[in-house]
C-alpha cells in the first residue's frame, strides 16, 4: 500500500518532541480510533525511526507504511487490537 492510498482516521503530530513523548502520543491516539482504522503519525525525533516499529511489534498493531517527508517522519498504523 502506498501513502497516497492510505486514508487515516486520525493524525497525531508529535513534531518537536523527543523520546518518549512520540510513543506516548501514539499510544493515546491509537486508543481514540476503532480496530481496523488507520492512524497517521508525524514525528521529527530521529529516535522515532526505530521506536515506532518497536512500538508496533510490542503492541501488535500494524505499521502499514513509513517514509520521510523533508525533516518529518511519517508513519501509518492500523489498529489491530
Amino acid at each position: 500500500m502506498t501513502p497516497a492510498t492510505l486514508q487515516a482516521e486520525k493524525t497525531v503530530d508529535s513534531s518537536g518532541d523527543l523520546c518518549p513523548t512520540p510513543i506516548l502520543k501514539l499510544s493515546k491516539g491509537i486508543k481514540e480510533i476503532e480496530v481496523g482504522q488507520v492512524l497517521k503519525m508525524i514525528a521529527t525525533d530521529p529516535g522515532a525511526e526505530a521506536d515506532m516499529p518497536a512500538w508496533a511489534r510490542q503492541t501488535g498493531n500494524e505499521l502499514l507504511d513509513s517514509h520521510k517527508d523533508g525533516e518529518k517522519f511519517i508513519y501509518y498504523f492500523k489498529r489491530v487490537k
Partner: protein
C-alpha cells in the same frame, strides 16, 4: 501479583533509588514508554528515589555529584547552546549553584522537546503504572502515606521481589 497466564502482557519492574532531577528521568521515561506499549509496569521507589512520589516534586540536579556533567546554555545562538561548558569543581560547591544548574537543565530539556518529570509521572499514572513506595524508607525518613500522590501504594522488599520475579525486564536505577 502472579503472572501465570502466558498471554498476559510483558512486565517491567523498576527500582528508582535516586532523587535528583537527572536521575528521575530514566525510571519515568522507561515506565511511561513501557506503559504506552501495553506492558505492565511497577516502580519501587526507595531511598532517595522515594521523594519522587511527593505531591510536588522538588528534584534538583547537583553538578557536584556528577563530575562529568557539562553545562548547557538554553539561550543564544545554536552554536552557543551546543557548547559543553566545563564546570570547575570549586564552582559546583558554591551556594545557589544547584538551583542555577536545575533551572538550566529544565530549560534545556524543555527547549529540546523532552517532557517534564511531572508530565512523565502523569503519563505513568494514565497508563496504569504501579507506583510503590518503600515502607522502610518512609519510616526512616519520616514520610507518611498522605505525603504522596494518591495513586501510590506502600509495600516492602518481599512484595516487590515477588512482583519482579514474574517480570520480563528488571532494572535498578
Amino acid at each position: 501479583m502472579s503472572k501465570s497466564d502466558p498471554n498476559s502482557p510483558k512486565r517491567l519492574a523498576l527500582i528508582a533509588s535516586k532523587g535528583t532531577l537527572d536521575w528521575a528521568y530514566p525510571p519515568f521515561i522507561l515506565a511511561s514508554a513501557a506503559g504506552a506499549m501495553g506492558w505492565e509496569v511497577g516502580i519501587f521507589f526507595t531511598f532517595y528515589g522515594l521523594p519522587l512520589l511527593l505531591k510536588d516534586i522538588e528534584a534538583e540536579v547537583t553538578p557536584l555529584g556528577n563530575p562529568a556533567m557539562p553545562m548547557k546554555m538554553p539561550f543564544g545562538p545554536q552554536e552557543f547552546q551546543n557548547i559543553n561548558w566545563p564546570i570547575p569543581t570549586a564552582m559546583m560547591a558554591t551556594p545557589g549553584f544547584n538551583s542555577l544548574a536545575t533551572t538550566l537543565m529544565k530549560q534545556t530539556f524543555k527547549n529540546k522537546g523532552v517532557a517534564s518529570i511531572p508530565e512523565l509521572r502523569a503519563m505513568c499514572i494514565e497508563t496504569g503504572v504501579k507506583l510503590i513506595a518503600c515502607q522502610m524508607t518512609m519510616d526512616v525518613f519520616g514520610f507518611k502515606k498522605e505525603d504522596f500522590i494518591p495513586e501510590s501504594e506502600v509495600a516492602g522488599a518481599a512484595t516487590f521481589l515477588e512482583y519482579a520475579a514474574e517480570a520480563d525486564v528488571q532494572l535498578f536505577v
